[in-house]
């Protein structure tokens, strides 16, 4: 009997690597397969020792019976093995030269909970179509990236921002000319594990998950890596490997919803179905899992519990299973289960679907009005029928294409990014299932606005920089903040608010007005009770007065509207002028307050 010690080292650096190794007889028969470094005991003879890598590379060594040593130390060595994916290796698709019908948007919050919202781009944004994200350095990294391209449904990809390891997001060009998003994980072991799985090298994957670098319960373990390893263990039917983790406090405290799935799946496989269901039901509050495997397992188990009849499940829990299943199913319907991370199509992450973007789509402005005429017509009647749906009707009044519209065109922005689109906004503001609300068209001046950066949003600040406005012409804008929406024209005194007013507009209004007069202006959002001084508080109160006026003003038809029976055009015009006059007064006062020492 000889003692065989095997280790693997990278030839360039002599670095010790944890790699799956096979020991075979000359006729090819497998003697042992283990994760190096390891020690094994063999009858004396000739053996080949090899390590295989995805893509066909192999490291070899042989030990011979001619050598009568009792101990053989074998060092397998070679150039650093590169993880090779079955799928085409992700190659950054340089943004340069791309048509404008391609863009990325960012979201945070959980889609299953309906709380997904537009967010800022992570890190320094795109650089040659690559975003490198280090979750530990990000103040508030988005949890979802959305790829939008003409003629295709927007693709939503969950991002591993809960993890402790950096990752890279690439746009990749597919053979069909479309683009996709690819997350490239940091960590050689994780990449190698994924590559083994991609190549169907399950025996190697089964060994590699035992590597100390991937151990599920290692102190300080990165939760994303831990979840990935746990899913691999499930796939390889090695549930015992994480029994302690799944049944202990680790799974409950796991920062990803995947913890509930993994715990539930473990319990289900061991026959503890009532407990398993409870674990899966936690998704109702925790949201979607990060991994596609998690969604698939949850769907399969919930479907089982929904229809299994010989399982001791309380009726209310079974009902809860059915309800959660109904919420999860749309994500499963539109999911791409070929990706490790949860990936699904949908105009907005909160609403998975497969609706492709129209061929004439161009970010960030969407032509919408024709689809909404009916809705606005209905709301118009609400207003003048004394039904309190001011907000929507005011949209109608503000829209340029409408006969009564005040603003013929506008720029659409949201509170967190100037690159979001109305579809997202509409979903987030409780207009699900309906076409986006506005705008009709972006006039040339407005377009220049965006291009010149005259209006932009810096995190939660609306910044208007008149110095960058194109000279001449009429500058019109349409801003949407997270709590209110603001329509204004810079060359006129009117400042119109639509939708329900809130404290956040308090600063936006004077800023817009200042900008109108050529001052640099910026505004930021404050909730009630967060004022820094009395000046700000007074500005807030005055703004509320203005808001009321703006609402009243907006509720009146415009001079060229003769569609409202029983309303004198002269009266309407007079009222509008009075309101505008009073608004000017308040705006001036606001400006003075704002500039007070």
């Amino acid at each position: 009997v000889i003692t065989l010690y095997v280790e693997c080292r990278e030839s360039d650096t002599a670095r010790l690597l944890s790699l799956p190794v096979e020991v075979r007889r000359p006729d090819g028969v497998l003697v042992t397969r283990a994760l190096a470094p390891f020690v094994t005991y063999l009858p004396a003879g000739l053996y080949y020792v090899l390590s295989r890598f995805p893509g066909g590379e192999e490291w070899y060594a042989s030990i011979s019976r001619a050598d009568d040593k009792l101990r053989h130390d074998v060092v397998l060595t070679g150039p650093r093995p590169q993880p090779v994916a079955v799928r085409p290796a992700p190659v950054a698709d340089p943004r340069k030269g791309l048509t404008p019908e391609f863009d990325l948007r960012w979201f945070d919050g959980d889609p299953l909970l309906g709380k997904c919202r537009t967010a800022n781009a992570p890190g320094g944004g795109w650089r040659d179509d690559v975003v490198e994200v280090d979750p530990l350095k990000e103040e508030a990294a988005p949890s979802l990236a959305q790829l939008v391209q003409e003629g295709r449904p927007p693709l939503n990809v969950a991002l591993p921002v809960v993890g402790k390891k950096p990752f890279t997001l690439l746009t990749v060009r597919l053979p069909n000319g479309q683009r996709s998003l690819e997350v490239v994980w940091a960590g050689e072991d994780v990449q190698r594990l994924l590559a083994y799985l991609d190549h169907g090298m399950l025996a190697e994957a089964a060994l590699l998950v035992q590597a100390p670098e991937l151990a599920l319960q290692a102190p300080g373990r990165d939760p994303v890596t831990a979840a990935l390893v746990a899913y691999v263990l499930l796939r390889l039917d090695k549930v015992d490997s994480f029994a302690g983790w799944a049944t202990g406090a680790d799974a409950s405290a796991f920062p990803l919803a995947d913890g509930s799935v993994l715990r539930g799946e473990y319990l289900a496989r061991t026959g503890r179905h009532a407990e398993a269901l409870e674990a899966f039901l936690q998704l109702s509050a925790r949201g979607l899992p990060l991994f596609a495997d998690g969604l698939s397992l949850a769907l399969d188990r919930l479907r089982t519990y929904d229809r299994a009849f010989k399982v001791a499940l309380a009726p209310d829990r079974r009902k809860a299973a059915g309800e959660l299943l109904a919420r999860l199913q749309p994500f499963g319907t539109f999911a791409d289960f070929d990706s490790p991370l949860l990936t699904f199509t949908g105009s907005h992450p909160n609403q998975p679907d497969a609706t492709p973007l129209l061929p004439n789509w161009r970010p960030p402005v969407v032509q919408l009005w024709s689809q909404l005429a009916e809705r606005f017509q209905r709301d118009w009647e609400y207003v003048f029928g004394q039904v309190h749906d001011y907000a929507t009707a005011q949209f109608a009044l503000a829209l340029g294409d409408h006969p009564a519209g005040l603003v013929p065109a506008g720029i659409y922005l949201t509170e967190l990014t100037g690159n979001a689109d109305p579809v997202a906004w509409a979903v987030e503001h409780d207009f699900p299932g309906e076409p986006p609300l506005f705008l009709h068209a972006l006039d040339d001046v407005g377009d220049d606005w965006v291009k010149t950066g005259a209006v932009y949003l810096d995190k939660r600040r609306i910044v208007i920089d008149p110095g960058k406005l194109p000279e001449g012409g009429t500058h019109r804008g349409f801003l949407v903040t997270d709590r209110t929406d603001l329509v204004f024209t810079v060359d006129r005194a009117e400042v119109f608010f639509v939708r329900r007013p809130a404290a956040t507009v308090a600063a936006a209004l004077p800023a817009a007005e200042l900008a109108k007069h050529g001052y640099y202006a910026e505004a930021w959002q404050r909730a009630a009770g967060e004022f820094t001084d009395d000046t700000e508080r007074r500005a807030f109160v005055l703004t509320y007065v203005l808001i009321g006026m703006a609402q009243a003003l907006a509720a009146f038809p415009t001079p060229h509207s003769d569609r409202v029976p029983g309303l004198s055009r002269d009266f309407a015009e007079l009222t509008r002028e009075r309101l505008k006059h009073r608004m000017r007064f308040f705006v001036d006062q606001l400006n003075r307050e704002d500039q007070a020492p």
Binding site: R24, P26, D27, G28, V29, L30, Y48, L50, G55, G56, E57, E58, Y60, S62, V86, P175, D198, H199, G200, M201, L202, A203, L234, R235, L236, D237, A268, R269, T270, G271, H273, A292, D293, L295, S296, L299, D300, R303, T304, R307, A308, F309, K310, V311, A326, Q329, P330, G332, T333, A335, D336, F337, D338, A354
Partner: protein, 384 residues
């Protein structure tokens, strides 16, 4: 001491090409055909799989004896012309009623934990989640609920789960040779229920379960009209000579893992050629044997000299270890990469720079490689 019964294999094979209620069928038209059409090779495919299984059993290539093998077929007219045996009345029709009866019989037969089951379905399929699918049977589209004449793969798999009261084979293979797309019209069926084939009794589940799908979720499965599905062609190639590794007795055998690796490799070839075929293994598979090979498999080695310019003056020799067999690649190595088919096993590779000497290149020390099916790339690195 109780006697240990040798493992037995129980198979249920279903192939549906002819759908009477879809366009072109002889029955009343389905209220909603969902855009589906008749198929032309899926029943024939199921028959080929059935034939392979019977033959493998006769050759004692399976891990146990084939104790039961039910075949349900709904062939199309062109298939019957190609293979009249499809009309054998001993084979049931792949209707919902016959499927249910056959599945229950299959379940009852596979009543020992050491047994192994095979399931093969070729026909129309609809994806719901990753591993859950609705299998459309011959009478799909008949009067009644839309999914009345279908089978839920998830229910089938759950129903084959052992429970305290029910002993069942613990090694289970499923092959699903069907599309996994979700056409627009199917989306509303997500919430529709298929009538269960089995009552589901859930307990602990320690099965070894391997599910091989002929398509990735959301993708189509393809076939050669009037012949076989692409998946079955590749699968049978793997089970005959295109997969495996040497077993304990020196003979080559194919395990669940080997099959996955070989299928992945061969489907990657499709991808490289720009073809749309895709494949995916699901389930929770430990490694267990599927069959053994009658002889060592043939393996295609693709020799690539790195850098490519060195191919012009490199001599590559290959020698079998142990045993006879030696090859010398032409110098220059053309075509490049140079392909050579050899028997599976260990080989020694030598590479030498042909005169005159080249300052930037050197002869390589002998290297070893294991030729494993279905193919492997061999990189001969000549740079210093």
């Amino acid at each position: 001491m109780g006697k240990t019964r040798p493992p037995r294999i129980h198979a249920l094979i279903v192939g549906v090409s002819y759908y009477p209620h879809l366009p072109g069928g002889s029955g009343p038209a389905a209220a909603d055909a969902l855009g589906l059409r008749q198929l032309s090779s899926t029943a024939l495919t199921a028959y080929r799989v059935y034939q392979w299984l019977r033959q493998a059993d006769a050759q004692q290539r399976l891990p146990g004896s084939l104790a039961s093998c039910q075949l349900l077929l709904s062939p199309s007219a062109p298939e019957l012309q190609v293979e009249p045996a499809l009309a054998n009345p001993a084979f049931g029709r792949a209707t919902r009623a016959q499927f249910e009866k056959a599945a229950r019989s299959w379940q009852a037969a596979a009543a020992e934990p050491e047994d192994m089951t095979w399931f093969y379905f070729a026909g129309h399929g609809v994806r719901r989640s990753r591993s859950d699918m609705v299998l459309l049977l011959e009478d799909f589209g008949a009067a009644g609920p839309t999914l009345a004449c279908t089978a839920d793969l998830g229910n089938l798999i759950e129903g084959m789960s052992p429970s305290g009261a029910r002993r069942l084979a613990r090694a289970q293979l499923y092959f699903v040779d069907a599309c996994r797309v979700l056409p627009e019209k199917f989306k509303r069926y997500e919430s529709l229920q298929c009538p269960p084939v089995f009552d589901v009794e859930l307990e602990g589940d320690d099965r070894n379960l391997a599910i091989y799908f002929a398509a990735l979720p959301g993708r189509l499965a393809y076939a050669r009209p009037g012949r076989q599905t692409i998946f079955s062609e590749v699968l049978l190639r793997c089970l005959n000579e295109g997969a495996g590794e040497p077993g304990d007795l020196g003979e080559w055998s194919v395990s669940t893992y080997d099959l996955d690796e070989a299928l992945t490799t061969l489907y990657a070839d499709f991808k490289e050629r720009g073809e749309q075929h895709s494949y995916r293994m699901e389930g929770r598979a430990a490694k267990f044997p599927i069959c053994r090979l009658l002889k060592p498999p043939q393996v295609e080695l693709a020799f690539h000299v790195d850098p490519e310019e060195a191919a012009a003056f490199t001599r590559v020799d290959l020698r079998a270890l142990p045993g006879p067999g030696a090859w010398t690649l032409p110098t220059p190595v053309r075509p490049h990469p140079h392909r050579l088919t050899v028997q599976g096993g260990f080989y020694e590779v030598r590479a030498a720079v042909q005169p005159p000497p080249r300052p930037n290149y050197r002869d390589l020390p002998p290297d070893t490689l294991l030729a494993r099916p279905p193919r492997r790339a061999v990189t001969v690195r000549m740079s210093p």
